[in-house]
Amino acid sequence: MSEKGKSTSGSIGAWFGDERVRGKIAQGLVIFFLLLLVSFLVHNTSQNIDSRGIKTGWGFLSQPAGYDVLFKIVEFDSTYSHGRIFFVGILNTLLVSAIGIVLATFLGFFVGVLRLSNNWLVSKIAYVYIDIIRNIPLLVQLLLWYSIFLFLPKIQESYTAFSFYLSNAGVNMPAPSIGASTGLMPFNVGFLPESMGWSAFLVVLIAGAVGFFSTRWVKNWGKRKMEATGERPPVVLLSLITAILVPILIVLFFAWPIGLDLPKANNFGRLKGGTTVPAEFLVLLLGLTIYTSAFIAEIVRSGIMAVSKGQTEAASSLGLKKSWTLNLIVIPQAMRVIVPPLTSQYLNLTKNSSLAVAIGYPDIVATIGGTTLNQTGQAIECIAMTMLVYLVISLSISTVMNIYNRRIALVER
């Protein structure tokens, strides 16, 4: 260090005189104190837990839960463990969030486009819908929907059509059920998740893979054909067939014959058999979908309005059809604006699903963060597990959306 001008003499004044050094020291101290605070809080909490004789540890996860839940998509009853109910709760949260995200996206795009309609009435209806829904707290809406749902007839007096039943207990409907193994079926498969064995899983996996790759092939074929002939084949229609119809046919082929398991009234007039979608699930799904769709609609509107008018004008001057203009010119560019805020709406929907507890849907908060917490008294463990689940789900959603965002981002040259 013999260079002139860089004083490293060690005098305090010069040391403090360097803004970068000072900044580093300040940052270091802040981090040090933050760590100190965290470790103090942890220490303090564990000491207080000890002094109050509250039991800690993870042993409760293997203890029998002792309670049953209304809705589960894996096998569960009161003899299963608290660990199992944790899993049940996660699946219930994921199910309502996943379906909610899909429905809210469709409804939100639909309303958002309506909002931009040139028809005064349509546009105003969408406007009123958005502004009412956005400005009423979700919890209030859920309680309202649930109260309305309870006004439906009792299950003994359900509205009925084609073995579908609607009552204040929810919807009961026929479920496909697998008949005995026939010559076509090399093994027994079960269609419903409760009875889903590995073989059924394999069939569904194969069907899914065939659907995915055939859809991709259709897309590429359509692209090649358009580049070669200038003609646009009905790719959307074809890919619907390959993505949905083909997998269903594959499953049917392996699982034939498929019978129908019809709901039947038991001695109380309660419908058993078939598939039951409980009222609490429907209300939560309805509430989350409607609430989030209003926000998505505004995001979609802003995204479409962000695409400059010149783009649309250029497209029509080239003679593109109106639907092509929307699908090929406007929406791809609007997506760049839409996706980042859309991601946070997906996260909101997932986190808002914790309001399930208000209407009796057994999500992760109502199960592990509710009854299990109360029965075992191990609040810190249960809340930590609940928090971790939401953290993992939320980070996964944003990772996926970020990857998607990068793919549709403007490629700058």
Binding site: F16, L37, G53, I54, S78, F268
Partner: protein, 358 residues
Amino acid sequence: MFGVIDGPHLGFFKYQGRYFIMKGFKLFAAAAAATVVASTASAGTLDDVRARGELKCGVTTGLIGFAFQNDAGRWEGFDAEMCRAVAAAVFGDGDKVAFVPTTSKERFTVLQSGEIDVLARNTTWTASRDNNLGLDFVGVNYYDGQGFMVPKSLGVDSALGLDGATVCVQAGTTTELNLADYFASNGMSYEPVIFETSDEIRKAYEAGRCDIYTTDASGLAAQRAAFADPSAHVVLPEIISKEPLGPLVRHGDNQWGDIVRWTLNAMITAEEFGITAANAGDQADNKNKEVHRLLGTEGDMGAQLGLEADAFANVIKTVGNYGESFDRNIGPDTAIGMSRGLNALWTQGGILYSPPFR
């Protein structure tokens, strides 16, 4: 415990001859101080309550007869009077109570964390709750058992005919566990609809979302009283569990636990000896030595607990004896209409029995 802030110089730095306080340090120090205070608050509950000037008492969010707010916003009921009794023992004034409504799910956490001093919320005394939660039950103020209520129109007259029913039940209760046990041990299936508060359950049950409402028999009677047409519902004869309900305190503060325990015992003893709210101040001629020890005109029962000599006299003057409180809130002449049953004194065929004031 917290040895890092060992001098006033930490958190400051000297720059060009002047001292500067580090950004955020004040906040940090305040947070640390608050945590230290919070962690030492459980040292002596009696001192804390006195310093605060009021008792923080956890009750239900609203159950007619046990704890609910009347039209004037005043908390009333059998459990609410337990709170008033403890306040009367500590302050000589039954109104120095801050009622904290708790759901069945959050009640233990609220008590564990020190947010309330005592929980009087028709809570069942069980082994695991007593041993696992860091809480202590101090006694039983109501011997109860779990029952089932069904609409009369269902045509069921026994709980054994409930196979395949849908059941409304409250989250985080012993009821929820007994229900699972009872149906499993009788080879019956059921579908639970689980809510947080009894109001939500009542709404869902009345709308026919469930066939059965199950909770403690006293709770069923209280809820039925609130129905539009109570006579359309029937409580089935089966009582499927023992539910001794009583007040709880935090484990470890034995003095405070004793105060709540002997407040309850004082109410029971007072009934045994015929001491009422009306005549408690008028017992100078009573020949019974135990009455004098109870009322503090003899001996040092109050002082043994760190209370005034007339602590229990104040309890009885404020809420009356056990029988008076029972009759006023949930007895046969109220809308709840519970008979004393097991909760009669041991001298009258029940099992209510207080250790002697000696």
